[in-house]
């Protein structure tokens, strides 16, 4: 290898080792520790005895994780919430992606920009907008009351409904962008040919457009599912107190209970849950790296 390549490779390698690989290893290590009073609030996993390192791994946290239904329920709930949210994103995003892909060429980039634009206003401020819409004295209740459809405000904020709306709102572009990329590459002649061969428009969609867009669908669903599983902010701000997703549980264990080992064990569980969709994303052809690799 040529000498000048060494620093080019070493800088990002070292960065990733120090700030990504090592921290994850520490998380795994501390997940086997016991909480203790003091700073940091856990008993060391690694101890020195007569010059020998003694590793004391205590699986107690994982035992709690598996036995206490609270944690398993949170994991399951996170997966369900993320799954339903990505499905909702698909239902809303597919027609949008298709419409943009079939729009006149000159409009496409502008329409795409229109879809992305709201997401540059700041994540928290987008959530703010929904709080204003959904609260008891918010605009939706105000409008419904004024029209006379209801006589007492509906409970909208701090419900599962609000949480789903918030997640779909936050992650919709992650669905639209890969779908659009896939759909815009489809040769329109394929659909024309199917129509020419006697398929109805619905048949054309079901037998040609949809099957050919499936890699984009998979990529989009994974891109919504993955961040939604670990999401903390939206369930916290829009969901009810019962919406204990895994991200929220981790946060609570860490910040409120100061149980760092338990938080680490929850983090490892979250990592395990993410392995499957991450592998699916890797396979879906939307591999962002290494399409040139050996």
């Amino acid at each position: 290898m040529k000498l000048w390549r060494v620093p080019v490779l070493a800088v990002p390698w070292c960065w990733l080792l120090v700030f990504l690989v090592a921290p994850l290893a520490i998380v795994v290590g501390i997940s086997f520790a016991q909480p203790a009073d003091g700073i940091p609030p856990y008993a060391p996993v690694l101890a020195w005895h007569d010059g020998w390192p003694i590793l004391s791994l205590d699986p107690a946290n994982y035992a709690v994780l598996l036995q206490d239904r609270f944690y398993l329920a949170a994991l399951l709930r996170s997966v369900v919430v993320a799954g339903l949210s990505s499905l909702a994103c698909l239902l809303l995003g597919y027609p949008m992606a298709l419409a943009i892909a079939r729009a006149p060429a000159a409009w496409r980039s502008r329409l795409l920009l229109l879809v992305i634009l709201p997401f540059w206003t700041g994540f928290l401020l987008r959530v703010t907008a929904w709080i204003g819409l959904l609260r008891d004295d918010g605009w939706i209740n105000g409008a419904l009351l004024a029209v006379g459809l209801i006589h007492a405000p509906l409970r909208l904020l701090y419900t599962d409904f609000a949480m789903y709306v918030g997640i779909v709102y936050a992650y919709l572009p992650f669905m639209i962008l890969p779908l659009y990329a896939r759909l815009s590459k489809l040769d329109p002649a394929l659909e024309a040919a199917a129509g020419d061969l006697g398929e109805s428009p619905v048949g054309v969609f079901l037998r040609v457009t949809w099957p050919l867009s499936r890699p984009g669908v998979l990529a989009g669903m994974m891109l919504v599912f993955i961040p939604a599983v670990g999401e903390y902010v939206i369930p916290e701000l829009l969901g009810g107190p019962g919406a204990q997703t895994i991200g929220r549980v981790l946060w609570t264990e860490f910040f409120d209970n100061h149980d760092w080992p338990m938080a680490s064990a929850v983090a490892v569980a979250l990592l395990g849950v993410l392995l499957v969709p991450a592998a699916l994303l890797q396979r879906s052809g939307s591999r962002r790296f290494d399409d040139r690799g050996a």
């Binding site: 290898m1 040529k2 390549r5 080019v8 490779l9 800088v11 990002p12 390698w13 960065w15 990733l16 120090v18 700030f19 921290p23 994850l24 998380v27 940091p40 027609p95 949008m96 298709l98 419409a99 920009l113 634009l117 709201p118 206003t121 700041g122 994540f123 928290l124 401020l125 987008r126 703010t128 907008a129 709080i131 204003g132 004295d137 918010g138 605009w139 709102y169 919709l172 428009p201 993955i226 599983v229 670990g230 903390y232 902010v233 701000l237 991200g247 981790l250 910040f255 680490s264 983090a267 990592l271 991450a278 890797q282 962002r288 790296f289 290494d290 399409d291 040139r292 690799g293 050996a294």
Partner: protein
Amino acid sequence: MHRRALLTLGLLPGLLFLYLPIILLVLFSFNDARLLTGWAGFSWRWYAALWHDRALIEAALLSLQVAALAATGATLVGLAAGLALARFARFPGRAAFTAALAAPLVLPDVLIGLSLLLLFVATESAIGWPHNRGVATIVLAHVTFSLSYVAVVVQARLADTDPALEEAAADLGAPPWRVFLAVTLPLAAPALLSGWLLAFTLSLDDLVVASFVSGPGASTLPMVVFSSLHLGATPELDALATVMLAICAAALAIAGRIGVARRRRRL
């Protein structure tokens, strides 16, 4: 006809869903009332309140400082990573490198935040650094999760350019450092710019990671907004969102102008 129907039916509900909350938010940031329901007349009072909110402005300045530093760091490290992926066909540990680089794209914020905090706590007890968590630790964390995005953009750009360009430069007598400065860097420049902007935005937007790795006294804008959102949304936050929206729109307009001017010059 068919196409127009698809455009309207496919896009309109989605765009309404995307824009209605924002339009209402902008509108009510000018509402002269404490409560959100009902229009009580036009007013700048929430913008004035924003202007006098010392905590918010200090947090915004801190966030901008963190974002600028983190974006610059992520661009430098991401450039090296993208360069390695696009230009070094084979090197030891390429598969592991690729996986490690892709990880921040799929890891949840809570996981990145927790793991980095545990690292900083461990290094503090081992080597005494960082003694105080704050700007430095937030910047390091933000570089870590945004360098992958920069690497993606840089790699895509370099993969699109003819590798013969760099060979041509060497052929014309340029040693490797000059090939890099005179050819590779200018070719990657658009990707570096968009990578920097992306990293800047990601940093400005981050609440979770910053909450983990920050220490007392260093609160970024999202951290301040989050704690006041816990108390409920106020028109002042609507005003803040409107200001951000305006800055964003202005930046886009300027970028668009530059793009048009550049295209014109080429013709």
